[in-house]
Symmetry: C2
Subunit: 429 residues, 2 copies
Amino acid sequence: MTVTTPKGYTAFSADTIKGYISGIDELAERVGGDQDQMETVEIGDGNLNLVFIVKGPVGSMIIKQALPYVRLVGESWPLPLKRSYFEYHALTRQARTSTSGARVPQVYRFDEAKALIAMEYLADHIILRKGLIAGIEYPKIARDLGLFMAETLFRTSDLHMETARKKQDVALFSDNVELCDITENLVFTDPYHDAEMNSWTSPQLDRLALALRQDRDLKVAVQVMKQKFTSSSQALVHGDLHSGSVMVTQDDTQVIDPEFAFYGPMGFDTGALFANYLLAYFSQDGHAGKPGERDDYQEWLLTTIIDTWQVFEDRFRALWRSERDGILYPRALFEDQDDAPGAEQALTHTLRALFCDTLGFAGAKMIRRLVGLAHVEDMGSIEDPDLRARCEANALSMGRELLVGRDLFSSMNGVCEVARRIRMEGTRL
Amino acid sequence: MTVTTPKGYTAFSADTIKGYISGIDELAERVGGDQDQMETVEIGDGNLNLVFIVKGPVGSMIIKQALPYVRLVGESWPLPLKRSYFEYHALTRQARTSTSGARVPQVYRFDEAKALIAMEYLADHIILRKGLIAGIEYPKIARDLGLFMAETLFRTSDLHMETARKKQDVALFSDNVELCDITENLVFTDPYHDAEMNSWTSPQLDRLALALRQDRDLKVAVQVMKQKFTSSSQALVHGDLHSGSVMVTQDDTQVIDPEFAFYGPMGFDTGALFANYLLAYFSQDGHAGKPGERDDYQEWLLTTIIDTWQVFEDRFRALWRSERDGILYPRALFEDQDDAPGAEQALTHTLRALFCDTLGFAGAKMIRRLVGLAHVEDMGSIEDPDLRARCEANALSMGRELLVGRDLFSSMNGVCEVARRIRMEGTRL
C-alpha cells in the first residue's frame, strides 16, 4: 500500500494550527481574535488522526486532520488522507438524513488538500464509551440512536433515494478502499487465524482464542457476513458505529467519525452499536466495586438494546409507510393496487432480514474486540487480568452465539436472555 | 431522462459506415480494399442499436453503434450512448476471465465519441434463440456456457479479484444507471402493476396477467430479488444473458451484447439463461408440427439445463479450490490451518445461496417476457394465439414456482421435474 500525500499537505501541531485558522476568514471570525488569543490543544486519542480543540474569545471549534498513517501502529502502516474526504461527505449526508434523533457535528470547512475538517466543538459531551464504563445512564440514548440509524439507513437506501443519485454515491464511496480493507481484515479475518497483530488476555484466554480458529461454523458464518460487507450496497453506513463514535450529554447525542463510511449492509451499523453495548454489559462485572453493584446498570444496558431496536424498528416502519419512494417495493405494486397488506408483508420480511444481519455483524464486531488488534477500553480498563478474562470470555461466548445463531433469534428480548444466561453461567476458560 | 450526445456523434448508415472504416487504417486494413469494394448491411434486430456487417476483399467485421434512444420504442425513450462504453469494458473483461468455455467476440476498436465498437464478425454463427426455436441441439452448449458463467462470475468476485481493483471497477460500472434502470423497471416492477407498456396474449391470458398483480407472495418475492439486483455487487454480470445474447455453431459458442453489464448478483446471469431455456421448453409445444414431435427436444432442453448447472458448479468448485485468492473465505482461515473441510462447507453454503438466487432471478426473467414489454420470439412466433397462450400460461406457472419457491428446490433435477409436471397438467387460463 502506498500513500499519496496531496501537494500542500502538512500535519499541523497545536501551534501551527493557529496560523492556519487565522489565515481563513470564516474560521478566524468564528473563534475570534488573533493567534495570540487562541488556545489550542491536541486531544486525538483515536487510532488514526490529529484532533485539535481550538478556543478563542468568540467561539470554539474542532479541527480534525488525517495523518498519512495509522496513529495506533505508526508510520509503518500508511493510510490515505482521502478518508477525510469520505468523512466530510458522510457528515454532510448524515446531517441531511438524520432529522429527529442524534445529530452529527456541524461542518464549518473541509480542506481536501490538508485532509482537514473544521467542525463544531461539543464542549459538554463525553464519549459514550466513557459514560458506559462509568456506569452512567442516558435516558435519551435509545431514542436518539434508534432514530439516527433508521433515518440515515432508510434514506440512503433504494427504498428512498433516487436511483441515479444513489449509484453515483456508491461510486464515490467505492474509492474508500483502504478503510474498508481495515474492516475486512481486522473484523472478518484476523481473529480467525494467527494474524501477527492479534492479542488477547494471555494466558487466560489462550484456549478460547485458539479454539476460534478451529470453529468451522463460526469461520463460515463470519465469511458469510464478510461477503455481505464487501458486496451489499444497501445504504450509506457510518461504518464504525461503536460507542466511541457517539458523544453524549444527558440531553443530547451526537454521532462522530464516519470516515469508514461506504455503501454497505444496513446491519453493519446496527450490529456495531449493539456489539458495543454487549461488550459494555459483560465488562461491567469487572467494574463493579462489589459483586452485584452494577446489576441494575447491566439491566439498563439490556433495556437500552431492546429499546433502541424498538425505536429503530418503529421509525423504519414509519418511513416505509411515508417515504418509500425509491425503486424498491414501489407503491405501484402495493398501496396503489389496494394491497397495503402486501407492503406490510414485505416490510416484515425486510426487518427480519435486517435483524438477522444485525446479530451476525454484532457477533463479528464483538469477537474482533476481544482477540484481534483493537480492543475496547470497557474491557482494557479492568486491571485484574483474571477478572478481565472472565468478562471477555463471556463476551466471546455471546459473540459466537450471535454470529452462528443469527437466524435463530426471534427478538431482541431473546438476545438479552442469552446474554443474561451467559453471564450467570460464566464461560469456561 | 436526458440524453447527452457526445460531440462528434452521428449515427452511421450502411453507406456512411464505409467512409468511417476507410478513414481508420487498422479497420481499413482488416477488411481490405477501398470503399467501393466494401459490402455493408445493417442487421440490427435487437432493441437498442445499429449493427453493420462489413465485408471487404480481405476480411470482415461487425460495427455495433449505440443509438441515443431505444430502437424498439423510438426517440421518445432516450438512452445514453455511454452503454457502448460499458459493453466495451465488459467485453475486454470477459475476454480475459472466460478462458475455457464460450468466448466473446474479439474487439478491434472502441470509439467512445461515436459510441461504436468494431469487432469480430461471426459469419457461421446463429443466435441461439433461433436455433432453439428451430429445434436444433447444440452438443457443446451446456459445457461452454456453464464454464463461461463460472469463470466470468467467480473471477470478477471478491473470491478472486484484488479488492481495490474490484472496488474501482464497481465504481466504473455504477454509472451504467439507465440500463440498470431498464431492468429494474421492466423485469422487477412493470409486470406486477398496470404499466402502460405491458402486453400479453389477450384476451386468453387476461385472467393470469391480472392475477399477478394481486399475488402478494409473488410481489414480495420479486422485490426481494430486485433488492439483490440493486444492491448486491457480487461479480461483474453480463446483465442480459438470454438466448438472444449467445451465438452458436455446432462447435462454438460466443456470448455477445454485454451492454447491461454491472457489478450485480451472480444469480442474475445464471437465472437469465435458465429462464430462457425454460421459455424455450414451454414454447416447443407451439412449434411441434404434430403433438409429441418436439418431446425429445424438450427433454434435450431440460438435460441442457441440468448439465449447464452441473458444469457451472463443477467449475466453480474447481476455481474455489485453485483460484480463491480474493478477500472472501481466505485460505488463512481454512486450508492454512489444516481445515480444508471448512472451506468445502463454505463452498457448499455459497453454491446453495447461488442456486436459490438463480431460481429466483429465473422466475422473474420468465414472467417479464410473458406479460411485460419485451417478449421472446420463442413464444411470439407461435401464430395461433390460443396455442401460444397455453404455452405462455405454463411458462408463467413455472416462473411463479421458481420465484416464490426459490429456496425450496434441492436440485436442478427437481426444477426440471416441476417443468414436466406443469407441461403435462397444463395451466388453467
